[in-house]
Symmetry: C2
Subunit: 203 residues, 2 copies
């Protein structure tokens, strides 16, 4: 088994944190995003979308999409459960929060990056006004998440889950476009300090 | 158990098709999106995001996010398996395709609607140039999906899955912004005719 990934990509960090929480080690093959190795034919044979991470299984199967890779390891090694385990309502609740963190927090933060950051200026057509609208959207969602975290320890409840990982990688990636967690959102700050103090945060 | 939903919303249709494939019937409570019932306090107590569908369990738990609702029913009644079952690689492969259909097909098609359609003109700030860029993006992805479907029956492989449902609800919703599946993408057309002929398509 091999994990094709890039140190700087937030979706790769999502898988690394997930694996660290599970205590699973997988050999890593670095992919150089700077030279667009991920857009070359050799890489596109692994993932036609040209994106990292990609998990290569021993039988030659390639699994792309970071959440799908997490799902693979969750089923392979259910403990500690990060995606809800066997209880239907619990699994659904965690998936609900995972999707909210993905679509309402991480995705808009990444849209700010894609549409306003110089890194992408020569790579894609940027829409700066749309990008800034996503900054406003994400900021509102972080204020909402702060209120949600007033009465519970983690994003999906009292247990740490993949929803925390997705929020963490999204928010931390926001540093490059000036997102910061401050005293203005005290519950979010407390949560962010807690997840940042976990050994997995270094992954 | 009750399902709060709206007949016209594509994410509600995703759950209805999923339930129809499972042969599960759930009482429905209609939510009037036209009068913005979903933005009122009474509804926001069910889902603070103000969105449908929301599943209300008998113990008063609310589960939002259509894929999370599907996950709940998949665990409650595993057969027919629409999310991959117990095999880790199979579940991961279906989740990979589910996410690709969600993020690369359904989401850009819905972004076209949000950013260019008169329905949203008075409801949100629209970014028409961004919306049109998503039309181009989705069109390329549909051409890619056509090539992928050249050598297999369904989106994630030879078995029907939630990935087909997500592609179906996204593409069908695209009709309101002039997306059509034509002979130009013959494999996609064959697939679309097949999923449209299933009894669940009427859900």
């Amino acid at each position: 088994m091999k994990l094709h990934e890039a140190a700087t990509a937030p979706n790769c960090r999502r898988v690394r944190i997930f694996l660290a929480e599970k205590g699973i080690e997988v050999p890593v093959v670095p992919v150089d995003l700077g030279s667009a190795e991920n857009r070359q034919d050799a890489f596109r044979q692994k993932n036609p979308m040209g994106r990292v991470p990609v998990l290569e299984l021993d039988d030659g199967t390639f699994i792309a999409e970071s959440v799908a890779i997490c799902r693979y390891f969750e089923q392979l090694q259910p403990e500690p459960a990060l995606m809800g385990g066997d209880d239907p309502a619990e699994a659904a609740r965690i998936e609900m929060w995972q999707r909210r963190m993905e679509l309402e927090v991480a995705l808009p933060i990444m849209q700010v990056f894609r549409n306003t950051h110089p890194y992408f200026a020569d790579r894609i057509q940027q829409y700066a006004d749309y990008g800034e609208s996503q900054r406003s959207h994400a900021t509102k969602r972080l204020a909402w998440l702060d209120r949600e975290l007033a009465d519970r320890e983690f994003v999906a409840g009292d247990e740490y889950s993949i929803a925390d990982i997705t929020a963490q990688i999204g928010i931390d990636f926001g540093r490059v476009t000036k997102f910061r967690v401050t005293e203005e959102t005290p519950n979010l700050l407390r949560w962010h300090q807690a997840v940042s103090a976990r050994p997995s945060a270094k992954a």
